[in-house]
């Protein structure tokens, strides 16, 4: 082989290798860590707070800690309810009580005095920059509509527009919580999407589990009721668990996500829309619909890029076996039409997270985490989602174990 031919062959081989590498790079098994700097805000050691989350330096330390789990994606929390944790022009902030007397202040030491809306530079923008500099995929974790169970999470826009509040069947308005049945409320939320885009996000993760008390029970607002009457020729049922009513209400959530999708696409950048749902398996549409959620429609319509399974309803008699069956069921239902992240959940609000697995199996957290992550990988998921990486809630041993898998055995997505 002459020199030019050898060069040509080598070049072709390099190109092939490069292409293969790129192909593999595109299929890196994702470890998506939900991060809320607020949860790092008041961790005193010897009288000193470990993280000053109102500074870039403090949040850099937060990120250091989070990366110990081998995270490839950071989903940084932007809000609590409808109060923002960055310099939002559209919404108000955690510290706005008593500037707004309608809000009951967060009186807790430390947390109650966080002024994320005034911090220089803007917290969310600087967090996204840090992620970019560290080679991490950067995103925002935006809990759906109103999260938490406290009035200090109610934003100014909501308080200023009582005419858009949710309402029960008997006409009682729900203080400070708006309904997606009002186009003005949707437009307001889309303005928040614009703010997030301005901060350089690559992923918008909307979490529908953290719905606070949002449910079809509070959707008896005029536009939703009138649409129901037009469609069915009768008044809506008084029971918010009525399947027809739930499906009707779920349509407004789907329509909202459709509009978010359009907004992201209109940015001219490729922004992934992730949506998280909980308790979705065994696939039981009625259970999901009672929360006003119709995730299969989002998949079928290809509105979302990634489905995040927040937890599955596994069986205590066979924790891992039943989990695996449920993972398969979800993946089969999705059938490759969007990416799927499966849970390695530290939180246990629903008694379906790692603490409950530990209780059921008497295994340590690190072992449970390893099994869940490996199972997700074996079943062909695109990654795992970690809710939430707070200070030490994924133990040191768990962080080491997860990182070892993320950078070793589970580095690439299985091609099933």
């Amino acid at each position: 082989m002459n020199a030019p031919a050898l060069f040509s062959t080598m070049a072709a081989a390099l190109l092939l290798l490069s292409t293969l590498a790129q192909s593999q790079e595109a299929k890196r098994f994702e470890v998506a860590a939900w991060v809320d700097h607020f949860d790092f805000a008041y961790i005193p050691r010897d009288g000193v707070a470990l993280f000053d989350t109102e500074t870039v330096e403090g949040n850099s330390k937060v990120l250091d800690h989070v990366q110990e789990v081998g995270a490839t994606t950071i989903l940084w929390r932007n809000c609590a309810g409808s109060t923002m944790r960055y310099q939002s022009e559209v919404e108000s902030h955690h510290q706005d009580a008593p500037l707004d007397k309608r809000r009951v202040p967060d009186s807790r030491p430390g947390w109650g005095w966080m002024r994320y809306g005034e911090t220089e530079p803007d917290i969310l923008g600087s967090a996204m920059e840090m992620c970019r500099d560290r080679g991490l995929r950067r995103g925002v974790h935006w809990p759906f509509e109103e999260t938490h169970w406290a009035t200090w999470t109610i934003g100014r826009w909501n308080m200023e527009h009582p005419q858009f509040w949710g309402r029960t069947a008997d006409g009682q308005p729900w203080w400070g919580r708006v309904s997606l049945g009002h186009p003005e409320a949707v437009e307001h939320k889309l303005a928040l999407v614009d703010e997030l885009l301005e901060r350089g996000i690559e992923t918008l993760y909307i979490d529908t589990w953290r719905v606070g008390g949002w449910s079809p029970a509070y959707e008896y607002v005029d536009p939703v009721v009138e649409a129901f009457e037009r469609q069915y020729g009768q008044a809506p049922p008084a029971s918010p668990a009525d399947p027809r009513w739930c499906r009707h209400v779920a349509g407004y959530v789907t329509d909202f996500l459709r509009q978010v999708r359009e907004r992201l696409d209109a940015s001219g950048r490729k922004i992934d829309l992730m949506v998280g749902v909980q308790d979705i398996a065994p696939i039981d549409e009625e259970v999901a619909l009672r929360r006003g959620i119709d995730w299969t429609a989002w998949v079928d319509e290809e509105i979302i890029d990634t489905l995040v399974v927040i937890n599955v309803r596994w069986d205590g008699e066979d924790p891992f076996g039943s989990t695996r069956r449920l993972y398969r069921e979800v993946l089969d239902r999705v059938s490759g039409r969007c990416r799927v992240l499966l849970p390695v959940q530290a939180y246990d609000f629903s008694h379906l997270g790692m603490p409950s697995y530990q209780k059921a199996t008497e295994l340590g957290q690190d072992e449970v985490a390893k099994r869940l992550m490996r199972m997700a990988w074996e079943e062909g998921a695109d990654g795992v989602s970690l809710e939430c990486v707070d200070y030490n809630n994924y133990s040191a041993a768990t962080r080491v174990a997860l990182k070892a898998l993320a950078e070793g055995e589970c580095r690439w997505v299985q091609d099933n």
């Binding site: 805000a41 008041y42 707070a49 993280f51 000053d52 989350t53 109102e54 500074t55 403090g58 009580a97 008593p98 500037l99 007397k101 309608r102 009951v104 202040p105 967060d106 009186s107 807790r108 030491p109 430390g110 947390w111 109650g112 005095w113 966080m114 002024r115 911090t119 169970w149 406290a150 009035t151 200090w152 200023e160 527009h161 009582p162 005419q163 309402r167 029960t168 069947a169 008997d170 006409g171 009682q172 308005p173 729900w174 203080w175 606070g212 008390g213 008084a238 029971s239």
Partner: protein
């Protein structure tokens, strides 16, 4: 104190006198929100807060000449100005935080007083808490305010502090998440404190009256079906104005509540949100903030007492309705009990009843029965059961006060006392399942109670006792009621659960749900003038 140049005052009302203006008149115009107006005791000035670059300033508007002056424009936020009764002082809330929480914050939002003529403010409270929305006592000796200073949970209590200086004193605090007593306003006679109140994530702001001598004794003037806050007393004590919203409104508005009957009306303040009203000292005008121009500006309007349309009992079509059965036991019944409703539902006395002091008792196992009563075929519509009862003594048994028996639902609806002495009212689901509302408390012995129990057209069952809506309600009670087989007072339809120790003074049944006046009016009068 200096004149403020960057605002334009619109003095339309000034020369004429507010009372001559038919429509709300704009008092201020300029950049930033102008809010939280407070009229000086002599009526010559209005204090308010102005949102400006870097924080909130305290400003004064001269009502005669329209001149605006800045009373305080230091760093931070100066909020919620309130006048002393002699007009010499203004107390306000001030907050100026310049460090991160981790770096350390010495003071939070605290109270300061400043001479109304201008001068240096004096710190009244301190500490890392939020002291806000202050008002002076009628004698000017102390200041009432809301604060988080005693809270471990996100809650707010009412406190007072001597004007001369000293330690704040807790007046009322319930340290549970989202329980807040905010915006105290002392009545002209000093006997009551009106304030905003919220209790929980899913509740709504309500306006309450508390006794100044014991703020734990309180009466809610507004109900969860609307959101109301920022109460202020008219100078004659006959009205309370507040910010309010009721489903169907375009946004926030100024409501007035008449005393002592509790009637409510929304004032016509024009487009936009209207909030935080304040009375002129002569009671002839109200000043409030409105955002029709894009930012909040101050407006005034003459106060003309509105005609309060009584929110009486209504049926599904909104028509006023009367009872289909009405018994009064002011006179002892004979063998029958006359039905005062005119429907013809006379009751037959079965067994022996005790009678006396305007009531009947069921100690001996007697009852009052109406076979095939007319008018109790409510279908899926609303209905109300009202009763005046006294529980002379408690037993540890279930006691049926009233039960209506239907063909396929022998326990169609019931009013009863449970073993713990709590009062219950229940209706049923279409599947004939129980749905109940319960009293918040064990019924006190020997006290006459006014009970309103009702199912509304959405299937919610509620219980109001002495004007107070009880917290535990039920939903989904959409059973369709056909013609009833039996109405029985004093024991269960099959004879058990005798209402021992219960005295019944009045009893009514009617379609529809009770109106606001009926729910609260008499009880409010008793609260104001016991």
């Amino acid at each position: 104190m200096r004149a403020l140049c960057d605002l334009v005052v619109i003095p339309l009302c000034m020369g004429l006198g507010a009372g001559l203006c038919a429509q709300p008149l704009q008092l201020t115009s300029g950049p930033g929100d102008h809010t939280e107006a407070a009229w000086s005791p002599d009526g010559s000035r209005i204090a308010f807060q102005l949102a400006a670059e870097g924080g909130h300033r305290l400003c004064l508007l001269d009502m005669a000449g329209g001149q605006l002056t800045v009373l305080w424009d230091g760093p931070g936020d100066a909020l919620y100005p309130a006048w002393s009764p002699d007009g010499r002082w203004i107390v306000y809330c001030h907050q100026n935080i310049t460090t991160t929480a981790v770096q350390g914050i010495e003071n939070g939002a605290n109270l300061l007083v400043i001479p109304a003529a201008g001068g240096e403010p004096r710190r009244l409270t301190s500490g890392l808490c939020r002291d806000y929305v202050p008002c002076f006592s009628r004698d000017g000796e102390s200041i009432l305010f809301s604060s988080t200073r005693g809270s471990k949970q996100p809650s707010v209590g009412l406190y007072s502090v001597p004007f001369a200086g000293g330690d704040p004193r807790e007046m009322i605090l319930e340290d549970s998440q989202d329980v807040a007593f905010v915006e105290p306003a002392v009545s002209p006679d000093g006997r009551f404190i009106a304030h905003s109140f919220i209790a929980g994530f899913r509740s709504n702001w309500a306006v309450r009256l508390a006794k100044a001598s014991d703020p734990t004794q309180a009466f809610s003037l507004t109900e969860p079906s609307r959101s109301c806050l920022s109460p202020v007393w008219s100078p004659d004590g006959r009205w309370i104005a507040c910010t309010g919203y009721r489903p169907g409104d375009e946004g926030w508005g100024v409501y007035v509540i008449s005393l002592p009957d509790g009637g409510m009306a929304r004032l016509q303040t024009g487009p936009g949100n209207s909030r935080s009203p304040a009375w002129s000292p002569d009671g002839g005008s109200l000043v409030f903030e409105n955002n029709r121009s894009g930012s909040y500006q101050l407006y005034s309007m003459p106060f003309v007492a509105p005609t309060i349309v009584a929110e009486g009992a209504v049926d599904e079509a909104g028509e006023a309705v009367g009872p289909v059965l009405h018994y009064s036991f002011t006179r002892a019944p004979g063998e029958t009990v006359e039905d005062l409703s005119g429907t013809g539902n006379a009751g037959a006395v079965t067994g022996e009843l005790e009678a006396g002091e305007g009531a009947v008792g069921f100690e001996a196992g007697g009852s009052i029965d109406v076979a095939a009563p007319k008018g109790l075929d409510f279908g899926t519509g609303s209905f109300t059961v009202s009763a005046e009862i006294t529980v002379a003594r408690h037993t540890e048994t279930l006691r049926i006060i009233a039960v209506a028996q239907y063909p396929e639902s022998p326990l169609g609806w019931q009013l009863y006392l449970n073993e713990e002495g709590q009062l219950w009212f229940n209706s049923r689901t279409p599947e004939n399942l129980y749905v109940g509302a319960r009293s918040d408390f064990r019924v006190p012995e020997g006290k006459r109670l006014s009970v309103l129990a009702y199912r509304d057209r959405s299937g919610k069952v509620s219980l109001v006792i002495d004007g107070a809506l009880q917290q535990t309600a039920g939903t989904g009670a959409m059973l369709s009621y056909p013609h009833a087989d039996l109405l029985r007072l004093g024991r269960q339809y099959n004879g058990g659960y005798v209402a021992e120790g219960v005295l019944l003074h009045e009893f009514q049944v009617r379609p529809g749900i009770p109106g606001r006046q009926e729910r609260i009016s008499r009880h409010l009068q008793e609260f104001l003038n016991p």
